[in-house]
Symmetry: C2
Subunit: 331 residues, 2 copies
């Protein structure tokens, strides 16, 4: 009997369990949450096969450990499980910033353990185990950030997991990941929060709030995310977030100037934004041949070592090599 | 047979027709669109009883004329229909900025015709007649901005229409309206557009776009609105939009400073935004007694002149009087 352990049974952890359970013959999905009540709920929902009430027993003999806790708790969890992991165990996480997480993994996990950072680009508004659902990762991009020392076999195993979830693996460097998500995920959080602050600080907010409808609801939605998580994202990805706030301010200033002047330049600016979003929605951005090899994952039937070794893994391994080389030069 | 005419059979106009049809005995809903094909579609969808192919014939003998065209076309339409309106006809519009529209109505419509500006705070992403649907205005706030000279009876009639649509009338001055919607509706548009510009101008946009998920989709959504409509909003409500962009820039700078410093001040800023949105979602903002009288509209059974004359209309009339007095002072 093989064992996959999920630590943290919130929306992401419990959704993963739901879609991993019963997909592999002879594999048991074990769940742990610091709140036993949450673990109980996850089991009742069918997200895990059984619960394990202590971290050491949860990870003992596990082939794969998925750390699905908020980023500020990742360091503590890695430290706690490190002495209890079996040699060859593969550890992965799901948190939204990666540079710090990779540093912690390198620092805290023994050499005998593999680590592949992960970040599924999926989620729904309802937080916690209540928001867990089957199909959450279907067609989502799933960023994978292996440690420099990770073996191709461990990477392959995590790629397999991701594909079983229906998601699309996308390999990145940790800094690359953090810069990209700062723009498309953390900057939008800053904007939602700032929109809420701007309107709610206005003396006319009471009347204004009655005119606020669907467009306000969408653009302000992320202000309803967990403040603890947001504080965490902003502190673990500070420099990159600041950079993107600066770029946004420049762009907003550019729009301001155009609104002030009016005329055809404003109109073509608006057209440009419209077309950029249209292209994004249609998935036209990023469709170069080089990327397509990473994006178009094989179907379940093709998930064999040959396929991976023949194509994807070679590329992933090449990236890892490059990174090691760069690191070697840097040190 | 009384006649209600809807000019412009896009999402808003056709949705109104759908929910007004058959609600009044002896009333016919006539539709006009500059594109006969659109008018045909609206009729097929059951949004109107019949189409009228010219503006003069469309408004001839109409008791109520609903101008549901984009704001840049309102002036032209008002000018075209003015000579053909019957004395006592009530004209209303649905456009998203009001100061200019009220000026045009005052300038172009004969004294014998009543005008009540309107702005339903509702809409879906699908533009045009294809996006029209029953129930679109259900529980939506519906801003009403009468001309200074409008009779209480005309205001009452429009309030009745709004209530038949299931929406909640909310009386405002035109400048007040434009300032409030600039914050909760036009500023979000500027933010969505600027988010799209910021990311799509980045050299890494191609890779970034694959990590963009639900949170990016929501905050950038308004960039997919009609660029013509946005250009129009920004030009007819320029000064107020600029003011709100400036306020937003200041607030974003405040967040930037807090992100840079980190610590408890950042956290309480994030908590504040979270709580402000929670309060808004729960409808706690604006629940003062004075406002409640305007917000809690009577049910269909109570829609009698007595109710209006006894309460709501008195308040509306008082507002109109105040505005006239202010105007008198100003002139």
């Amino acid at each position: 009997m093989h064992k996959i352990t999920i630590i943290g049974l919130g929306q992401i952890g419990a959704s993963m369990g739901t879609d991993l359970r019963g997909k592999f013959a002879g594999v048991e999905i074990v769940g742990h949450d610091k709140e036993p009540e949450v673990a109980g709920k996850a089991r009742k929902k069918g997200a895990i096969d059984r619960t394990s009430y202590t971290l050491p027993s949860a990870v003992e003999d596990a082939a794969i450990v998925i750390v699905a806790v908020p980023v500020e708790s990742v360091r503590e969890v890695l430290g706690s499980i490190a002495p209890h992991l079996s040699p060859g165990a593969i550890v992965t996480d799901v948190s939204s910033t990666k540079t710090r997480v990779l540093e912690w993994a390198e620092e805290l996990l023994p050499e005998s353990v593999e680590f592949v950072g992960g970040h599924p680009m999926a989620g729904v508004e309802t937080p916690g185990v209540e928001g867990a659902q089957s199909g959450l990762f279907e067609r989502a991009t799933y960023a994978l950030i292996p440690l420099g020392r990770t073996s191709p076999k461990a990477v392959e195993t995590v790629v397999n997991l991701v594909q079983v979830l229906g998601a699309k693996p996308f390999f990145l460097d940790p800094q690359e990941h953090d810069s990209l998500v700062a723009a498309v995920s953390h900057l939008p959080i800053a904007l939602s929060i700032t929109l809420m602050q701007t309107v709610s600080h206005a003396p006319s907010w009471r009347e204004m709030s009655r005119l606020a409808a669907g467009s306000f609801r969408d653009v302000s939605r992320l202000a309803s995310g967990s403040p603890a998580m947001h504080a965490d994202i902003f502190s673990t990805n500070r420099e990159t977030v600041l950079l993107w706030i600066d770029r946004f301010q420049e762009e907003l200033q550019a729009l301001r100037t155009l609104v002030e002047k009016g005329g055809p330049a404003l109109r073509s600016h608006l057209d440009e934004a419209y077309e950029a979003r249209y292209a994004w929605l249609r998935g036209r951005v990023g469709e170069s041949e080089a990327d397509a090899a990473f994006a178009d994952v094989p179907t379940a039937g093709e998930q064999t070592l040959t396929v991976f070794a023949g194509e994807r893994l070679v590329r992933a391994a090449r990236r890892l090599d490059d990174r090691k080389k760069r690191r070697g030069r840097g040190g």
